[in-house]
Symmetry: D2
Subunit: 335 residues, 4 copies
Amino acid sequence: MELKIGVIGIGAMGRDHVERINERVNGANVTAISDINKDVATAYAKEINATFFENAEDLIASEDVDAVLVTSWDPTHEGYVLETIKHNKHVFCEKPLALESSGCTNIVNAEVEKNKRFVQVGFMRRYDRGYEEIKRELQTGSLGETLLVHCTHRNEYVDESYNTPMAVENTAVHEVDALRWLLEEDFVTAEVRLPKKQTTRTHPDLHDPQLILLETESGTVIDLEVFVNCQFGYDINCKVVCEQGEIGLTNPTYYSVKTERKDSTRVPSDWKERFISAYDRELQLWIDGVKQDHITGPSAWDGYMASVTTNACSEARDSGKIVDIKFESKPELYK
Amino acid sequence: MELKIGVIGIGAMGRDHVERINERVNGANVTAISDINKDVATAYAKEINATFFENAEDLIASEDVDAVLVTSWDPTHEGYVLETIKHNKHVFCEKPLALESSGCTNIVNAEVEKNKRFVQVGFMRRYDRGYEEIKRELQTGSLGETLLVHCTHRNEYVDESYNTPMAVENTAVHEVDALRWLLEEDFVTAEVRLPKKQTTRTHPDLHDPQLILLETESGTVIDLEVFVNCQFGYDINCKVVCEQGEIGLTNPTYYSVKTERKDSTRVPSDWKERFISAYDRELQLWIDGVKQDHITGPSAWDGYMASVTTNACSEARDSGKIVDIKFESKPELYK
Amino acid sequence: MELKIGVIGIGAMGRDHVERINERVNGANVTAISDINKDVATAYAKEINATFFENAEDLIASEDVDAVLVTSWDPTHEGYVLETIKHNKHVFCEKPLALESSGCTNIVNAEVEKNKRFVQVGFMRRYDRGYEEIKRELQTGSLGETLLVHCTHRNEYVDESYNTPMAVENTAVHEVDALRWLLEEDFVTAEVRLPKKQTTRTHPDLHDPQLILLETESGTVIDLEVFVNCQFGYDINCKVVCEQGEIGLTNPTYYSVKTERKDSTRVPSDWKERFISAYDRELQLWIDGVKQDHITGPSAWDGYMASVTTNACSEARDSGKIVDIKFESKPELYK
Amino acid sequence: MELKIGVIGIGAMGRDHVERINERVNGANVTAISDINKDVATAYAKEINATFFENAEDLIASEDVDAVLVTSWDPTHEGYVLETIKHNKHVFCEKPLALESSGCTNIVNAEVEKNKRFVQVGFMRRYDRGYEEIKRELQTGSLGETLLVHCTHRNEYVDESYNTPMAVENTAVHEVDALRWLLEEDFVTAEVRLPKKQTTRTHPDLHDPQLILLETESGTVIDLEVFVNCQFGYDINCKVVCEQGEIGLTNPTYYSVKTERKDSTRVPSDWKERFISAYDRELQLWIDGVKQDHITGPSAWDGYMASVTTNACSEARDSGKIVDIKFESKPELYK
């Protein structure tokens, strides 16, 4: 039985997921779409043989929709997620879960009230084979306790609309979730260094690069370079320093070339090239989970924790100080 | 619309494909199975919600089967493939297409008569991202003409039933097809060296390792080490030496570890770990192709050419001489 | 003409240099030694066919000594260096040049007064082929301006006498000098983070690992992990992030092994294995320079700058604050 | 006491060694030179403060010469080596020891008669850290018996005077000696494949690339690609396949660069860049050995064995057949 998916928001990310569901992963079809751009969405609905809903609430309520995928404009996420929960349907929501951590709290409360998880947040790093293998190795305990983590999050370039706060909220948020999951710990302090020396490729509204320092409950310290105009490619690194050794993500490569006195491998151009398999697995496992009415991916609580952590980073950046990260106690549902 | 697949032969490989079709790839379901082991097959059919056919010919003819996947005992391949063609249905057949090259010729003739390709042979290397990227790079011409190729095909170990001829027929056959596809040329001579020095991990019926030398029409020479008890993992290498540089397959790795004075990455344990993505893509693209009634993967002709090449290798091994490889001229259908 | 070298202090480091001069590098011989341990030194002097001087000052003054190498107990460095300058002889002094930066100032003043450089400090990283090639690449300008530097300084283990301050003074001091030389800039601020999570391999007097953050005049930020009980080997990393790309030190390896599902290269066991060539080149070039009465290696001023920088790191560690680094203006002699 | 070295032949190689002896290694000086080009040699002798001998025999006989280094025109090697042995002096001779293997036999006989080794042949690969570490690893036995070896010997380009036979005699000869030393075995058969497909960068007198196959006494098979116009750099590879794993030479690298979507390390431009340390160690150890009147490097017998092996390769190339390698039994002196 194919799962019927309704997709709200058919921008680049939304269409990417539609294509994924309809052409690559198993067990689901996109049966309904909604978007504020009626003309484009109507045409697209026809193309993929889905129903167009002018009103997203109608899509959510529709009997032809088993589960909902929210890839709309960030400010609308919270409302659509809450609405879907109301209908007792599963919902996959791209980050951020809500604009403010208070919005995340609303969603958490809605789930807690129903005592059931409906929400999965689109933190796809957890589905990357590299992160998964590192987590498995750490769990064997053979390397001892984790002491430090060194990360980089580098994009080849960003457009003019990308500004200083986004380095935390849109970029570092991936490491924030991935490291919480990897280390199985929450963060307690945040510091952000804005180096005086910036790349000439940036613009007045964007401080680039930035250096973020996080500390976990047990005292592990993470340094994270965010550099979104690095020019040379999409370069995600994560090295976990343990008592007995270091384990690090490698950028998977498929071929190497020796020419002109260089021996080289490719650096990916963007997140799509680097993480496409992770996105595919993320959706496949979400669909499998929805069918069994039991989802295990990043939860509304994870969305909330990412939100309070990035909020603290922003405060640390603005104040130039080390900021304590405060959060509610975790409801039983998420333990 | 989900494609209805009938699977003949539900050994390890057959079940692997069933799982792939039903759980990972898009657009198809296994609706029918057949196997000589009736009890096991009946139970399995129930488990996956498919119909069991005692007679494979009935499965092939069934209206509930759109296309056929042949993963049965090698000697039965030819017959089932021919039968499927008779019904004008698409058939995916694991290697070998037939035991003898004359059997491959029969299949080629059946297709030529109908002037349509129905058959795809299970040479999955062509769907590996590494091979694909190397081919794309070679096609740009930036490295110039291909001069030499150095390959290894290493398995961690084989069981006692694996014997000397199988090193060519079951193992080297993968490189034979992959290199014909990569270089877009046929082979004209074969030589096989059986080194006096063998591993102590082998047994009397298996000469291990072996060194195979092939030469293409244009004069490119390939050396291929086949070593099926190498103990350390599944290790596929392919280095293409060109006029302007060398391009080689890398073993994709996802993490690295520094511990005990070693900096190491993982070597895969077996073909499943190394090539699982290639198998998934192979089936996905076959299903997509069948739906459009237009398949582009390894053809019956490729199966035939692999067969005449490995036959020549066997003769070269037995005679200790350099053997010429003879083959029919390629029918228009496959050009 | 062989240069006659007098060595003060024949502990491990001193003997290492004696062996280097007498057996590996060109153009010099150790003709005189002095050490507080008279018996051992007398025997050793005999063994290497040198004269033993009970009094280091006599060694410095001896006509049989052209230049002096100071590898004695740290607190004695300043005095011996000043004495050698008095005799207008060249002196190579292992780090630290003096215990306090004021001692370094005394030496700088002594040179400035004579308007000549006599002193070379034993910062051997500058002679490592990796650092040299990185500097040459940075100087071409093809990677643009330097923005960030990520470093690690890891030792397999240290003995019980190694304590928290030594992580800065004896260990990080190498990066302090190497990075000043590499970036051709001085440091202006220091911060030290002592992560709550420490390795269980440490002891009460040693906080391990530590994270040091330095900022240069132009605003480049450096993070440096010092981890001296990392267990897995001696692991020096230095990645320089520029506007157009990243350039990093590799640990030179000479062979790789595939066995037991691992593909591995060796991590050096200690600084001797990692930097032996750098030590050899350092001494060869110093000897060549002395013969031409023109030395170009790390100067007394570099020793002073390393001292004020590490002092600031220590203050930053103790205060938990970001500390400004203050230093005198550079005398003409060192420009 | 500095060893007094006389150098016969001051072409590029000769001057390279002069510089090495006078400026980098320990314990020797070039006191005498001889060369057929009198004017150039006289000037050079003056420059390096050595005596010029018009007659090489006079140089060999001179009391101001303790040991001789032969880097003259290949056809003169045998004569100068024999003359030096006559004077009971040590002689280092660049390859080839003699033009024909019969010439090598003359030298071997001269040593056997005096029952002492005087000759070291300039096979510097044995002094490369990579080869040394591989040999040490093989000797531990942890990888089991050696089964196969895959080698490449690639030069960026050669000049017009380089012809087909030189690929064996001047190029492959390095692997011939290095592998005899590494495997501690002699070769018994040789085969040479001249691929029809050649690089367009070659000329009518040079078949490029070539593929050489050697077999050792115990049955280990070696394949060696010689490709002297590979365009991309000097690329020496040697992978030893054993029962329990593979061990291979890595090209030592000192830095890596990520830029323009590539992560790359440097390929050396030539043998000087790749093997300079090996040349330095070779000469240092030879000087040390001469001083102790006990040399351990590649012997006249090794020169003889290299000669008979390359002769067999040449015969194999010309005949297109697998050729048996015949050699004398090894005199007691060399065991």
